[in-house]
Symmetry: C2
Subunit: 368 residues, 2 copies
């Protein structure tokens, strides 16, 4: 293990959404400290939703600390993986809630990565038409992206995240210690979403990531703390202006139109979401260049950083037509026209259509 810096102090990012505002706390060892949870709502019951990988690592500690606040603390353990982000698995949460006669004050705690957060969040949004909800993201991807902003969903055989809700948590707790147990592949997947914020919003942050990519890959706590805090700040700024994705918020999907096609084309779970987004950003950068927003050097720079983060930079050969077909059912599509997030100048993004021929060309060039 490489030499790492001392634990960073606890930092708080505020998500400002009027009566739906909430704090994100970022720091080391937060999960097991009673003080972390002192603002949670009163209730008689809490339900921890986790998976069979994270549960054994942190479920016991989480349950113990919640028992100081709630008379009943139950845990439901979901199978791990995007391929289980479906109704059958979601229903395990409802079964547990009803079996334990959990009332509508029950606090649902999502302990795990993006899949756990999406499912626990949608369960919280839907159980008795809405119960309080807390996110404890244990992956880098969930800490910097999926646990911020209130998007929850499950997949449908015909499309990813097609069934869900906008539903804000009461609190998000990013315990950086949990990143030390993360598999290398998932660390890289999380870095994809960290990198994303640079080209669309903050070129200074992009330069910082380039200068600290080795420290991030070595899980240096101070570097991880800055990456998580800055990513959450940038996402908070966007979500605060457009909670329900009617405009600006769509730029957070940079790389996701191509990425979702990769995930759907290979079958959910073959590539991690962050891996597909990493590769999708290379494709979206090339499309941005072809549309005149950035130059070849910019594309090369992003390509190299994504590669250094341990992410794929070449797409799978699904065939250009299959990519187009899959992208036409993307949620951002309108009346069958595919919408792409492109960089129109470094640090600034917009949503646009593009001629099929040009998109085909970009796909051919980016697939091995």
């Amino acid at each position: 293990m490489s030499a790492v810096s001392a634990p960073a102090p606890v930092r708080r990012v505020a998500i400002e959404l009027g009566e739906r505002s909430y704090p994100i706390d970022v720091g080391n060892g937060l999960l097991g400290q009673a003080a972390t949870w002192s603002a949670l709502p009163q209730a008689s019951c809490a339900l921890i939703v986790t998976n069979d990988v994270v549960g054994p690592l942190y479920g016991g500690r989480m349950a113990e600390v919640l028992r100081t606040r709630y008379r009943q603390v139950h845990t439901v353990v979901l199978p791990d993986g995007e391929q289980h982000k479906d109704w059958q698995t979601l229903n395990l949460i409802f079964d547990a809630l009803l079996r334990h006669a959990c009332d509508r004050q029950t606090v649902i705690v999502a302990l795990g990565g993006g899949v756990v957060g999406d499912m626990a969040g949608f369960a919280a949004a839907s159980y008795m038409r809405g119960v309080p909800f807390v996110q404890v993201p244990t992956t880098l991807l969930a800490q910097v992206d999926s646990s911020v902003g209130g998007k929850t969903a499950i997949n449908h055989p015909l499309g990813k995240n097609m069934i869900g809700a906008f539903y804000q948590p009461q609190q998000v707790v990013c315990d950086l210690d949990t990143l030390q147990t993360l598999p290398a592949r998932e660390l890289s997947a999380g870095l994809a979403e960290v990198i994303k914020y640079g080209p669309i919003l903050d070129m200074e942050f992009l330069a910082w990531i380039e200068g600290n990519i080795d420290a991030l890959m070595a899980r240096d706590p101070a570097a991880l703390a800055h990456a998580v805090v800055r990513s959450c700040e940038l996402k908070a700024w966007v979500v605060g202006q457009d909670e329900r994705e009617s405009g600006l918020r769509a730029i957070l999907n940079f790389g996701h139109t191509f990425g979702h096609a990769i995930e759907a084309g290979l079958g959910y779970g073959a590539w991690l979401h962050g891996e597909a987004v990493g590769c999708g950003m290379v494709m979206a950068a090339l499309l941005s260049q072809r549309l005149g927003g950035v130059d070849a050097a910019f594309v090369r720079r992003l390509h190299d950083l994504i590669r250094k983060a341990g992410l794929p930079v070449k797409g799978p050969r699904l065939g250009a037509e299959r990519y187009l077909e899959l992208m036409r059912v993307d949620k951002k599509a309108q009346a069958g026209e595919i919408k792409f997030v492109v960089i129109d100048r470094p640090g600034h993004a917009s949503v646009t259509g593009a001629p099929d021929a040009l998109v085909r060309d970009v796909i051919e060039q980016c697939c091995e």
Copy 2:
């Protein structure tokens, strides 16, 4: 057929919920008139959700008029009945939306009774995290209750309406003509929810219903128009003050705690929801008397009106303990304490707990 009055003029009730405000139009023959739909949002696609009873009667006319506004108009026909208000049936809607590549501007139109409205509404709330939604209630119960106020849900084997969302429609259209084809049993079920508004909010309206119960049972258009409009006004007033049922709104569940136990105890679909609520109101009135809110004459008056509306006034013999057990998992229960809506003085209701012994006594007295 008895002599009936002339069609009533179109009347509009405004539901005031800030940016989620919407109108309820009440009148004869509205469904097939293009003018009724002139304020609907622009989109390329509309999906009519109906059932196998209402679809054959009004689905064709509805599709025809929507085709003047939307390029694609699809219809999904659900099996009729409360026993189908589950995930499997809900998924038929998602399947249709995705099979037709419907985008997130798609307008979902619920054409049917409360079950269709609840399912189409929850599908609209959840598809791509929310698409526009219109209610065209074709039963009296849906016109006066379930289509007003944004409650949507499906059932779970362990509880009714346990999974859902608060989600407001863009518009509600109550075409009184559809009530002429309603089975007698469903007309009575709807009258239960009309009667409900009297004891909890408006004794003048209760007196009006008593004076017009024969006209209502004979489906006189002017009488039905007044019953629908006044019910919607009263519900709008309550929902406008408490959209998410954190307080006042709970009084609309008068009769529902006992009613839900009857429905769950007999198996969903054995009694209609309105039948269970009718009987539940008799039980709740007796409980109110025992708690000192009303006198025996008031209970007798409500009992007689419910009977005249063709509704059951005696509960099924499930046993008092089974009633209590079923009511403890009701959404209104808190930490296992059952909450009842009681009349604390004529025209005024509140939510309260009650000693088990007293509730047992009321159940014994009201069951045959």
